[in-house]
Symmetry: C2
Subunit: 568 residues, 2 copies
C-alpha cells in the first residue's frame, strides 16, 4: 500500500481522486455520430430555414462570400460522412473569459478529426493566433484534459482581431502552420470576430488559392449567447449557475439556522440576468432582482430599495429576520435614471479626459464632474454613497465602458435598504452580509450536462470542418430528447448596433425576456418565496448517481422541454 505522502504527491497537478475519476466518466454521444457504436463525423443538410435579423440585407452586403456560401441556411446533421478526409490541419483557440467544458470541445474535435488529420492548439487566445503560438495536440493531451474544468490547457485572452494588420498576422499564421480551419470557442463578441475572420479567410489564403474555414463554438457563463430552440444555451452556463446555486442554497440553509442575517449576493453575468434568474429558479430565495424587468418597468433606485425594504419588514413581522437577495452584476445599467447618469458621465469623462487625468480621485474629481452634469444627475449623484460615486468616476475599460463588475452594488443596496427599513419600522432587526460570486463559477469541473454538451459541440465543429463548411457556429438542439447536432450561419446572427459612437455588425446579446416562460414562472412564485422560507438547492454538482443529469431550469422552461434532465 502506498503511504499517504506518496498519495498526496501523486495528487498534484490535477490528479486528485476526483479529478482522476472524472476522466474515466463516459460521455454520452448524440446518436448521429455513432454507427455500430463507432464514432463518425456527420454530413449536414439544410433544414430549409434561413436565419435572419432585421439587418440581414446589409450584413449580406458586408459578408458577401460567407453569406452566399451558406445562403444563411441552418444546417443539421444528416447521416454519417463517408468521405474519409485526410491531412486537414485545424487550429482551436479559446477566446474571452473561461467557462466549464472548454476542454471537452477540444476532446470532441480531436476525436472526430481522428488520426488522419491534425489538431493544433493556439496558446493564450486570439493573441496566440496573431503571434503564431501553436502546438500539436496529442491523444495523451486530450486524455489528460477530458471532463476537466478551466481553459488552462490552452489559456485564453480578450484580444479582438479587427485591424488590417491583425488580419494579415492571422493570414501569416495560417500559412506558417498550413491551417485549413480555425475553431473559435467564445462568446458573442468572439463569434462576431469568427464571422469576420470567416469572411476574410474565405479564399486566396494559401498557395493553391484556397481559404481557411472558421467555425465558432458558443461559450459563456453569462448565458447571453442563446437563440431560441436553435441554440438553447451557451456552454459553461449550467456549471456556473449550479456552482452559484449550491452556494446560494448553502447560505439560504444558513439563514434559518443562525436566524439573524440578510445576505445580499451579487452574481456574475455581465449585462443579462440569465444567471440570476436561473439561480433563483434553482434556489427560491426571498428576493431576486431581474435587470431586464427593472428596465421594462422603468424603476428608480428608490423604488427598488423600497420594494426590498417592504419584504424585510413584512418578514420581520412574522419573526423572520433573515433572507437572501440575488442581484445581477449588471443591474446598475438597467435602472433608467442610473443609465442616464452613467451615459452623461461616460460622455463628460471622454470630453474632459485630459483635464480629469490631472485631478485627484475623490472630492476634486467629483466636484469637477458635478459642475458639468444636468441638475437631475447632480441630484442623483448626491444621493449615492461616496464609494459608489468614486466607482462611477473610475477609469473606463478599453472599450470606453464602465466596468460594472467593479461597482459594489450589493453594498449600495444594503446601505440604502438599511436606511429605508429604519424609516418603515425602527424595530426591525436588519443585519447583513454581502457576497459576490463570480470567478469561482468559471473553471469548476463541468456538470455532466456541460461535459456532454461541449464534447458533442466539439464533434459537431469537427464534422463541419470535415464537411468543408465555414462561417457557422455549432449547436445542439433538443437537449431533452436525443440531442440534434446543427449549425447556424454566423452571418444570420449579425445585427447593426451602435458601439463607441459608430455602427458595428455584431451578434446581439440575448437578454432575459419578461414574457418568457422562465420569467413568467419565476414571477408567479416570487411572492410566495418572499413571504416564507421555501428555498431549495440543486446541491453540489454530481458526476455520478441519481442527480447528475440536470439541465438549466430556464432552458427547460423556455424551450418547453418535457423534462429537467438531458437525454443524449
Amino acid at each position: 500500500m502506498k503511504d499517504l505522502k506518496t498519495l498526496l504527491n501523486e495528487a498534484e497537478s490535477c490528479n486528485s481522486l476526483f479529478e482522476n475519476s472524472i476522466r474515466a466518466v463516459e460521455i454520452p454521444t448524440c446518436k448521429d455520430f455513432l454507427k455500430d457504436g463507432v464514432l463518425h463525423p456527420v454530413k449536414f443538410s439544410s433544414m430549409g430555414k434561413p436565419l435572419t435579423t432585421k439587418d440581414t440585407e446589409k450584413v449580406n452586403t458586408a459578408f458577401p462570400k460567407t453569406s452566399t456560401a451558406s445562403g444563411n441556411q441552418i444546417v443539421e446533421a444528416n447521416g454519417i460522412n463517408d468521405n474519409v478526409i485526410h491531412n486537414k490541419r485545424v487550429a482551436v483557440l479559446f477566446s474571452g473569459g473561461p467557462a466549464a467544458g472548454g476542454h471537452n470541445v477540444v476532446v470532441g474535435l480531436k476525436r472526430i478529426l481522428g488520426n488522419n488529420n491534425t489538431l493544433l492548439g493556439v496558446k493564450a487566445g486570439p493573441k496566440g493566433l496573431l503571434e503564431g503560438n501553436l502546438f500539436e495536440i496529442s491523444d495523451s493531451d486530450v486524455n489528460k484534459i477530458v471532463n476537466t474544468g478551466g481553459f488552462d490547457f490552452l489559456g485564453s485572452d480578450r484580444t479582438k482581431i479587427k485591424t488590417d494588420s491583425q488580419f494579415h498576422q492571422v493570414k501569416e499564421t495560417c500559412i506558417k502552420y498550413k491551417l485549413d480551419a480555425i475553431v473559435v470557442i467564445g462568446g458573442d463578441d468572439s463569434n462576431t470576430n469568427a464571422a469576420v475572420l470567416a469572411e476574410f479567410l474565405f479564399k486566396n489564403i494559401k498557395e493553391d488559392g484556397s481559404g481557411v474555414q472558421v467555425i465558432g463554438v458558443p461559450k459563456t457563463i453569462d448565458g447571453d449567447l442563446q437563440i431560441g430552440d436553435l441554440l438553447p444555451i451557451s456552454f459553461g452556463f449550467d456549471t456556473a449557475t449550479k456552482i452559484y446555486s449550491e452556494l446560494v442554497g448553502n447560505i439560504l440553509q444558513d439563514t434559518p439556522s443562525s436566524r439573524k442575517y440578510w445576505h445580499f449576493i451579487k452574481l456574475m453575468g455581465r449585462s443579462a440576468s440569465h444567471v440570476a434568474l436561473e439561480v433563483a429558479l434553482q434556489t427560491k430565495p426571498a428576493i431576486t432582482l431581474i435587470s431586464e424587468e427593472i428596465a421594462e418597468k422603468k424603476m428608480s433606485l428608490e423604488e427598488i430599495v423600497d420594494s426590498i425594504a417592504k419584504v424585510v419588514v413584512s418578514r420581520a413581522k412574522k419573526g423572520i429576520n433573515h433572507g437572501v437577495i440575488l442581484i445581477p452584476e449588471g443591474i446598475i445599467e438597467f435602472i433608467p435614471e442610473m443609465t442616464a447618469l452613467i451615459s452623461e458621465l461616460n460622455e463628460k469623462m471622454a470630453e474632459f479626459k485630459d483635464i480629469l487625468a490631472n485631478k485627484e480621485p475623490g472630492e476634486e474629481k467629483r466636484d469637477f464632474i458635478y459642475a458639468k452634469l444636468t441638475a437631475t444627475n447632480t441630484k442623483l449623484m448626491a444621493t449615492l454613497p461616496d464609494y459608489i460615486e468614486d466607482m462611477l468616476l473610475a477609469d473606463r475599460d478599453s472599450h470606453g465602458n464602465l466596468q460594472v463588475s467593479l461597482i459594489p452594488t450589493e453594498r449600495l443596496l444594503i446601505d440604502m435598504t438599511a436606511r429605508r427599513v429604519k424609516e418603515l419600522d425602527t424595530h426591525v432587526k436588519f443585519n447583513t452580509h454581502n457576497h459576490f460570486f463570480g470567478y469561482e463559477g468559471r473553471c469548476g469541473a463541468p456538470t455532466l450536462f456541460d461535459a456532454t454538451y461541449t464534447y458533442n459541440l466539439g464533434l459537431t465543429a469537427g464534422s463541419l470542418i470535415l464537411a468543408d463548411k465555414t462561417g457557422y457556429i455549432a449547436s445542439i438542439m433538443n437537449l431533452d430528447h436525443g440531442g440534434k447536432p446543427i449549425a447556424l450561419p454566423l452571418t444570420g446572427l449579425l445585427n447593426i448596433e451602435r458601439r463607441h459612437g459608430h455602427d458595428e455588425m455584431v451578434i446581439e446579446k440575448a437578454l432575459v425576456e419578461v414574457n418568457s416562460n422562465a420569467f413568467k414562472y419565476f414571477s408567479s412564485r416570487r411572492e410566495t418565496w418572499a413571504s416564507s422560507d421555501l428555498f431549495s438547492s440543486p446541491g453540489p454538482r454530481q458526476l455520478w448517481g441519481p442527480a447528475s443529469q440536470q439541465i438549466p431550469v430556464t432552458v427547460a422552461l423556455n424551450r418547453k422541454y418535457t423534462s429537467l434532465l438531458f437525454d443524449f
Copy 2:
C-alpha cells in the same frame, strides 16, 4: 408525466432532485451498533486511560460530582446494551454557528432511542432551553432532515448559560418537560457549557431527587475542537473545507486560464488555521499563510508581506503573472506586533469607553486613541491603511473581543503586497481579486464522511444516555478502519484560561501544531507549489461514485491513517 411547473413547485422546501436523492443514501454504521444487521445501543467500559490537563486537580475540585462519577476515564463501546430502557425523555439542541451534519446527529439520536423513549428538539439553541421552547421530534421529522445540511430544523444561537438565574431557568425547563437528559451539539465553548450544566444538573433536579444527564457532541467547522486520536475532528470541518477547497480549486484552475490575476482568499475558521491548512493540502496553491507559524516565528506584518511579494516577483520572472494566496481569518491576532497593538487598543478602548462613545468614527476617534498608545503602536497604526485602522477601532463583541472576521485582512495584504512588489520590480504585473469564503461552507449538504460521522455520533450520544452516563462528549476513533465509538469525560478537557480579566475553566482551542505531520508535509511541499502551478482540487462533494469516501487530509496525516478514505 408531470409538467415542468408541477415538478418545480414540488421541489420547493428542500425537495430538489438532489435533496430528495440524498435522503435515500444509506449511511454506514459502526459495527458496534449492529447485531444481526439490526441497530442497538451499546454499553461502555473504561479504556483504562484517564483524560487530564495541566489543571485537572483544580477542575476536579470545581466539578466534584461529574469528575468523581467518571473518574475522568475515557470509555469505549463494549457490546450491545441489552437492558431495554423505557420512557427516557431526551432534549437535543444546537449551539453556536451551524455546521454540516448536525441534522444527522438528531437522526442518530432518534433512531437509537427508538420508540421506547422520547426525543425533544430545543428551538433556537441555548436560548430555547432557557425559555422552555421544546417540541417532540417525530420519525417523519428525521426522515425529512436525514443527510441534509444546516441547523434549520431546530435553529441555533450563541447564548451562554452562566448566571445563576439562567441555571435555574434550565432546571425549570427540565422539570416542565420531565427531561432525563440533554444533548448539546456545539463547539469548544458550548461543550464547556455542557460540562458546567452536567455538574449543575447532576442530582436533585427532578422530584425523585434524580438529576439530568448532559452529553456533548463535537461540532465546529473551524476544526479547533480535536484531541489527538481520541477526537480526530469536530463534525462540519470536512464539509466546510471541501466546499472551500472546491472554490479555491476552481479559482486556481481559472488563474492559468485567464493568466492575469492573483486571488487573495480569506477563509473562515476563527483563530486556528486548520481550515487554511486543510484547504492548502487539498488544493496546493502558491502561498498559504498559517497563523500559528507566524506566531511561532514572530513574523512582522512587513516580513509576511515581503515573503508574499518575493513569490509574486519570482513567478513573474517565469512568465506566471497569477496565483492564489490563502489567508486564515484570524491571522491578524497571531502577528506579534499586531497582537500587542490590538491588546493595547482593547485596553484603552475599555478604559475610555464613555469618552469614545461620543467621538465620531474616523479621524476624531483615531486621533484620540493615537495619543493614548505607546510610540511603537502609534507608529504601526500609522503604516496601516485607514480602513484597517477604522476596523481596529470598531465596536467589540459581547466578550470584549475584536471581531476579527470583520477585518478585511485580504485587502490589507493586497495593498501592502502591491506596494512591496513595486519596490522589488516595477515591471511586474500584479492584478488582484479578493474573496472571503465563510458562510457558504457552514450549511451545505454534508459530505458522506460528515453524514456518517454525525449519524454515528448521534448513535453514540444516545447510547451514553441509555447507559446513564453524564458529563461526556461523544467521539469516534479509528475513522480509517471501522470507526470506534468512545466518550471523553468533559472534565478531563478543561483548562484554566485567562478570559476577560479573570480565570475560567474552559476547553482549550486546538491550534495547528507546527510539528504536526500535516504541517510538516505542507512545509515540505510549499516551495515547490510556489514555484510553479501544481494545483489540484477535491472537486464538488460527491455523494455517489468513486470519490465520495474522502476524509480530511490533515486528519489522515496527523492520525497516521493508512488511507485518505473513511471506512466504517
